[in-house]
């Protein structure tokens, strides 16, 4: 049986990459949306809000159909590989990253711009100060995306298959050990997963204390 360390490291690796891609795209989407009128931006945002609670198992099934050898993207040959899980986790993490980041970016962009211009700064200064102000939001968005990615099971199970030593991640390992009756092992893996998500929650709390005063 594969060691807990090995499964944990694989989980961290896959989820880090998936959430980094999700975070980067969420930032680009948030900036693009912030140039729209509030009404139009909210309309687009509502689509992402719908997907926040979308069942991950359904995303997994859709990806399975796409990546199946005879499917539309079967030629890529990535079904039951870590790449398939990364794509799946990216899709799971993207909506939460966008919905978390957009409102901060929208509000900050407007009031930072007004403040900087009103004090005699230029558009270049606006960008520089906006980035400075957005740092805590970017960190918390990334951590939220990571937290969502590492804790999901549906996608990892359907398109990853939980292959030991290759695509087995914390959630699939817990499911596998439980089905085999290895409850002690399953609880240990669960403890690791809880420790990771609890650490993220603690970091988010500290960041929240740090930035919340500015969001109103």
């Amino acid at each position: 049986m594969e060691s807990i360390t090995s499964v944990t490291l694989r989980s961290l690796y896959i989820s880090s990459i998936a959430s980094l891609i999700a975070f980067s795209l969420a930032l680009a989407i948030s900036i693009a949306l912030s140039s729209l009128s509030r009404r139009r931006a909210e309309m687009v945002l509502s689509i992402f809000e719908i997907f926040v609670g979308f069942p991950t198992i359904v995303i997994g099934v859709v990806l399975y159909i796409l990546f199946y050898p005879r499917g539309p993207l079967g030629v890529l040959g990535i079904l039951y590989t870590p790449y398939a899980i990364i794509i799946g986790e990216f899709l799971v993490a993207l909506p939460i990253a966008v919905t978390h980041m957009f409102r901060y970016v929208y509000e900050l962009k407007n009031y930072v711009r007004e403040l900087v211009l009103s004090l005699g700064g230029s558009e270049k200064h606006v960008v520089k100060i906006l980035i400075r102000e957005l740092v805590p939001i970017m960190i918390s968005s990334y951590l939220l995306a990571f937290s969502r990615a590492i804790g999901e099971l549906g996608v990892a199970l359907v398109v990853g298959g939980g292959i030991e030593g290759y695509t087995n991640v914390l959630t699939t390992a817990i499911a596998l050990q439980t089905s085999l009756g290895n409850y002690e092992q399953a609880i240990q893996l669960g403890g690791v997963l809880i420790a990771i998500t609890a650490t993220i929650a603690a970091v988010l709390k500290v960041l929240g204390e740090y930035v919340l005063w500015r969001s109103s």
Binding site: R38, L117, L119, E133
Partner: protein, 225 residues
């Protein structure tokens, strides 16, 4: 410095206009008071006068030149003469000192003693190195006013400047406004309450109703709202 608004219209959502065909000239030094009910367009008018937001229609002429067709460098140069202070304090992450000195840093200027003078005058010396979110509403408002005053602008636009301030700070601010006007500057304020001390130096009272300039009077009177 002269700012002229010609046929200004402004809409935040492309459907409804908060300013409708506004024409206004700020030429002579002095105090200009913008009055009007809530949602009448006072803040938008001040932001357009301060060259922060571009009108949906119409022209903003600065010394006879259309500001919004100028190049970025020229715009930056002109903006250094005008400072706008929001009605609700706009604060950036960091210390009070970081926020107070923001305008100076953006302009690449240093005014050590003068900054400290204003900071002490408005009672902010003790909180200078505190995180800005620890300030009370009154202190935050005073901080944004100090941030503007230390820049010594030719035109100072203050949106509801007396909100959140205690009587002592209101008196200090009125003294500062009077001094700027005496020194040949232009101060534009949007306010719900006209202090007696300001009446004597007010050049014009601009009344905005439903996005239109309803009256433009040069009389020294108390605009009753």
């Amino acid at each position: 410095m002269e700012i002229e608004l010609k046929n200004i219209w402004y809409s935040y959502d492309s459907y409804t206009y908060v300013l409708k065909d506004v024409n206004l000239v700020l030429r002579e030094p002095g105090l200009y008071v913008v009055v009007g009910p809530n949602g009448s367009g006072k803040t938008t008018l001040l932001k357009i006068l301060s060259l922060i937001i571009k009108p949906s229609k119409g022209s903003v002429l600065v010394n006879g030149r259309d500001f919004w067709v100028l190049g970025d460098d020229e715009k930056s140069l002109i903006r250094k003469s005008i400072v706008y202070v929001h009605d609700k304090p706009v604060l950036l992450r960091g210390s009070v000192r970081y926020n107070v000195e923001l305008g100076l840093r953006l302009r690449g200027e240093k005014r050590g003693d003068e900054v400290l003078e204003y900071i002490s005058r408005y009672g902010l010396r003790e909180v200078l190195d505190k995180p800005v979110n620890k300030l009370s509403a009154g202190q935050a408002k005073a901080m944004t006013i100090v941030r503007a005053l230390i820049l010594k602008p030719k035109i100072l636009a203050l949106d509801e400047p007396f909100t959140f301030l205690d009587n002592t700070k209101v008196k200090l601010l009125i003294e500062d406004i009077q001094r700027i006007v005496r020194d040949g500057g232009i101060v534009v304020i949007a306010t719900h309450y006209m202090y007696r001390d300001l009446e004597d130096i007010s050049k014009n009272v601009i009344e905005v109703v439903n996005g239109e300039v309803a009256t433009l009077s040069s009389v020294k009177k108390n605009p009753t709202l």
